[in-house]
Symmetry: C3
Subunit: 205 residues, 3 copies
């Protein structure tokens, strides 16, 4: 049945571009945490990337609303665009909280989470490159994203656990708990994107 529907390569290209924007944002967040010399400037650069992601998401939705036949289910395109946009929103929200809470130096756990986010965004980007290609390649990326989300979940929980054991200043505890949770949510959003991609693959199989 799907063979009769012309693959709209344009959608695939637009998602691929979105993938590279997400990787840029994740790389900037990792760089910010690795070299925390000028957090405000780093945060503004991430904000710019988030704006680029916003525009690209709007482009995809606009095209979707104007297109009658789509390469995969309309609601999946809509959901995927939303999930990808959410990844960048959470990366931006993490950077904002570091600045807003006047964080002096990031912790090792925060750096670990930024690295997992970057790896997960690379896997999302690779999955998007394979759109219209081999299903097995997409699925391999999705499995990787799931593993990384579990890893981030464990790092986050152990970081918050330590916080409650050791941090005696409740205001510091509030700040860091929220920073860890925001970072972890970025990997949740990668997983949301992976779930949508998996369901697209299964439907078209």
């Amino acid at each position: 049945m799907f063979g009769l529907i012309p693959k709209d390569e344009k959608f695939f290209d637009m998602f691929r571009l979105m993938g590279t924007i997400i990787i840029d944002g994740a790389q900037q967040l990792k760089d910010m945490l690795d070299d925390y010399s000028d957090p405000l400037t780093s945060q503004r650069a991430i904000k710019d990337t988030e704006h680029k992601g916003d525009s690209q998401t709007h482009e995809i939705i606009r095209r979707l609303n104007k297109t009658f036949i789509t390469p995969f289910d309309r609601e999946d395109i809509y959901a995927l665009a939303g999930a990808l946009d959410d990844i960048l929103d959470l990366i931006d929200a993490s950077a904002q909280r570091l600045v807003m809470y006047n964080v002096d130096q990031p912790t090792d756990d925060a750096r670990k989470l930024a690295e997992i986010i970057l790896n997960s965004c690379h896997a999302v980007g690779r999955a998007l490159q394979h759109l219209g290609g081999k299903d097995a390649d997409i699925c391999a990326c999705c499995v990787e994203i799931n593993v990384l989300e579990n890893e981030a979940d464990q790092v986050c929980r152990s970081a918050i656990s330590h916080l409650f054991d050791e941090e005696k200043d409740p205001i510091q505890l509030i700040k860091w708990k929220e920073i860890y949770e925001t970072l972890e949510k970025a990997t949740d959003k990668c997983e949301d994107a992976a779930n949508i991609l998996e369901s697209v693959v299964v439907k078209n199989a």
Copy 2:
């Protein structure tokens, strides 16, 4: 294509009524913060309005489930009804927290946020009045809602930033952080409604 589909004016009327209920709730919240002499009574009045909104939302969903041909996409009607209901839920949740946390006097930032919420709800109400009318009029309201959401976001972030700088009592900090975030979320929900309205306009263009 859409010319062949009879516009079901009843849906438009139902959404317009929902718009006036939302404006009522937002006005009551602003009044509560401007004259904080009897917060419990104010909160109960807002709760009543929230119940009215609930009933109206149920009416819309019930009609949707019974209607075969709808004036715009079934899932957009569903999503719009949900987003409008969420606006009132957040207005109600804000009022509840002020009472539950025994807030003595609202802050200037809280009052500012209530004013932005009211302006945003007026814009939502106007957009709903234009349903079935000129697309440009709806879009103008949506742009306004987006601007107001950005404004609320900035007020909220600066309020929380000040809180962390100045509030030494962590329990007060927890209370106010949550009150600001709840108020800000009400404008997020207005933006969600605006996004759905914009997508309805684009699809039917």
Copy 3:
């Protein structure tokens, strides 16, 4: 119209099984709070049940993606599977927080919430048993779930209110506020499931 569509009993069976898994998880959470002698072991047992729920959810989605004609709207099956999975996630998240925050003894309010969750999950399970049966039986369960959600909401709000009145240690306050909110969210997710079930009933009436 719906008479022409073969009822796919397999979907009903899969949802019924999911219902029993949810009841198991809710019972384990109640048992954990009633006999808090070995919280870590209790939490691991709940985690196992949550994994079972995950697998069952994947089974349902997989079958959905492979099935052309479904016993009720495709998007409702998808939404229902997601809502049911969320119930178990919140039960698991509640148990995790008790362990992660080194809670010594659960409070009466936490025990009350666990009991409401169990009652609500029993009602969800019963509604799922009635899938494909009498609409009135499903609706009766949904009404019950709504009542229980309101009850949980009141217990949660009064518990948090007391917390702010009496708990002088902000770190304890942060822990318990989040535990109560997580427990209460489990009943919200039951209500989400009930809303979807009600809309399925109305559509097919």
